[in-house]
Symmetry: C2
């Protein structure tokens, strides 16, 4: 049968299949050493706490009926209370009214795009930046400008600056306190909203935590009403990504509008998932974070050590203080997307860095996640990958 030629929206006409999706499918192959996804190691999920929380949610008829029923768009109150307390511990004077529970932190980005972006308006991001943020925001047809060169902006002054200050996806970099204050000042001058994506913030392995931009923004205030930071948090990297529970915290003037937009997007986040995540977080968030930090720290160390041992001349890489990613630049203008094809045949996967640049640059960069593999597999994978890069560089040099 012949497919119909439908008239799609302008945004949908621009949609392209993402390489990431195809890569994620490879993770399931047992022989594959995957440095690809920003995926937690499932062996670290706290199954006991989840089992207990589910048992509780379905323990008696009354609570089970609540768990299976519709609930309010803003989210389950005990969870919003837990999140508000968590935000307070980070120096952000939040109340539950400042918190909207989202279907993963990805949804926060979608709702924020809906709230702020008109076609042609400008979004400031780092280059590179989180691919999922580019995907979410792109649906509302903005232009992207480099947050470090904002003079290169079109007609509409930026309304939105998106940053990931701690252990950024994809670079693993951490913004200094000065850089955070500069971003805040820049946003104030532009009257822009800052989206502070804190997906990896809990996963610090070295050094001292820096204040979040939300905390700097609220500095000394008793509430968030005159602030401009939307802090986007996630349980995906700490407790479980499959539960799809995240949050956004900010001034109620914005949170209320985001809540209305969420109602049209999915009515509310699954009731039972919010109840379970609340139970698990209340019972053991800090312990869980301590536990996974120590595992991921060793894996980061193993990856950095293997890179130091095997990297060919001209290859450079970041040394992240936390998170899941090392960011590398390849020598000799090697195209990372081409390299990936050969790497996959050698049972190693990563994400080519070009996907993280709004303008398609960065073709000789790649993102390596150390979260999913143990130290021995990291050693083997980095060895294989570096060997492949070395061969490719030599072949390029020979044919040049």
């Amino acid at each position: 049968m012949t497919p119909v030629d439908f008239r799609l929206s302008t945004r949908a006409q621009a949609l392209k299949a993402s390489e990431i999706r195809e890569l994620l499918k490879l993770v399931g192959k047992p022989s594959m050493i995957s440095f690809a996804g920003g995926i937690p190691d499932p062996a670290l999920f706290n199954l006991g706490l989840f089992q207990a929380a589910c048992h509780e949610a379905f323990g008696g008829p009354q609570v089970a009926r609540e768990a299976l029923q519709y609930s309010t768009t803003e989210g389950y109150l005990p969870l919003r209370q837990w999140i508000a307390t968590h935000m307070q511990s980070l120096g952000v004077p939040a109340s539950p009214d400042n918190v909207l529970v989202t279907t993963g932190s990805q949804q926060a980005l979608d709702l924020i795009g809906k709230l702020l972006i008109d076609p042609g308006s400008t979004v400031l991001t780092t280059r590179p930046t989180y691919l999922g943020a580019l995907q979410s925001f792109s649906a509302f047809e903005p232009g992207f400008a480099d947050i470090d060169a904002p003079q290169a902006i079109g007609a509409d002054p930026a309304r939105l600056a998106y940053v990931m200050p701690d252990f950024a996806n994809p670079t693993g970099e951490t913004m200094s306190r000065v850089a955070r204050l500069r971003t805040l000042e820049q946003a104030r001058q532009l009257n822009a909203v800052i989206v502070e994506d804190a997906a990896y913030t809990a996963l610090r392995y070295d050094g001292v935590a820096l204040p979040s931009i939300a905390a700097l923004d609220a500095n000394g205030a008793s509430d968030l009403e005159s602030t401009r930071t939307l802090y986007s948090g996630s349980f995906s990297k700490t407790l479980s990504p499959g539960m799809r529970v995240g949050w956004v915290c900010g001034p109620t003037s914005l949170i209320r509008k985001l809540t209305m937009l969420k109602q049209g997007a999915d009515l509310h986040t699954s009731t039972v998932n919010q109840m379970v995540i609340h139970q698990v977080a209340a019972a053991g968030f800090d312990d869980q974070v301590q536990r996974i930090r120590s595992v991921y720290r060793s894996r980061r160390d193993a990856m950095l050590a293997a890179l130091a041992r095997y990297a060919p001349p001209g290859m450079t890489w970041s040394r992240p203080e936390g998170g899941m990613f090392v960011w590398a630049e390849l020598p000799g203008h090697i195209d990372a997307a081409e390299l990936l094809q050969r790497a996959i045949r050698a049972d190693v996967a990563f994400v080519p860095g070009g996907a993280f640049f709004p303008d398609g640059s960065g073709r000789n960069t790649l993102r390596l996640s150390f979260a999913l593999c143990d130290e021995a597999r990291i050693e083997v994978g980095i060895f294989k990958l570096c060997e492949l890069i070395g061969h490719t560089a030599m072949a390029k040099a020979a044919s040049a």
Copy 2:
């Protein structure tokens, strides 16, 4: 502290708080007789099946880790297979590739709006129509035109026609086979996509099921590739709304694009929820539907009988063959939103019909859900409400 005056997108500037949200909050008050939400009776949830399915999802470490991990955007394959078989039983030759699992059927509407609507393009709906569809689509700034008077359309020919053929929200009406074929023919002439919202389709109490528009569209074909209907299904009215699991089924050319848009919206629907809904549906979907049909049928009969007994002169109402709603028109130009304020003081709630009209008409209409209350409470609630309407009509007549 002074709130900041942010520059919001055009769509966000037009956002208004919904009366529905406030109404839903009243449902929790024990003395309230609520005819307001399209909310299933939680006493009818099959707790045993959900408990068993959760137990299975967390039964062993391997399956529990899968349940808590990221999964693919298109959805859990066994669930997509179950849905494809379900669609086949409705005369729609679907394969799992025709199915995208969504975070409730509300998300399907959001994604379809993103896929098809540019600012100013036209969406055809019945008048009145589902409030949540108006909310979802409005975020993409279309104009709305009456599907029964499509000549009244602006510059852009309609790309999208939204209908709920079975026991529509809010009217309870069912489209005849002839009307379904006419809608299909109209969409073909316009080259528009039909969104067939089947949220209530399983809840038929009388008469014989009519073929879905998706089935009429695919009539005799071996696959869906030349069809134009996106069938939006939901487990919310049959198994559980709190799980937030729905689906959209249609030609792969559209399903693939919707999948890309979903990736930016929330990555994927909760893994464990898909596994649990699959288990529950596989174990007892048909039995559950039989059971709730018989309960809701009695409640519908109780509401229609009470209306026949107590309705004041000039009040008219629909006689639905299924679903959850009776639609009423009030005599003497009574404003249903005003009536609601007094009804709430008398512990009865409903939804004023005006909210379901894109143009704000229908102020003398209201939607009554019979799903949540038992027969005795329906009797009392309808008595109180009719008394209030009668008094209001008399007072209006006296003051005229």
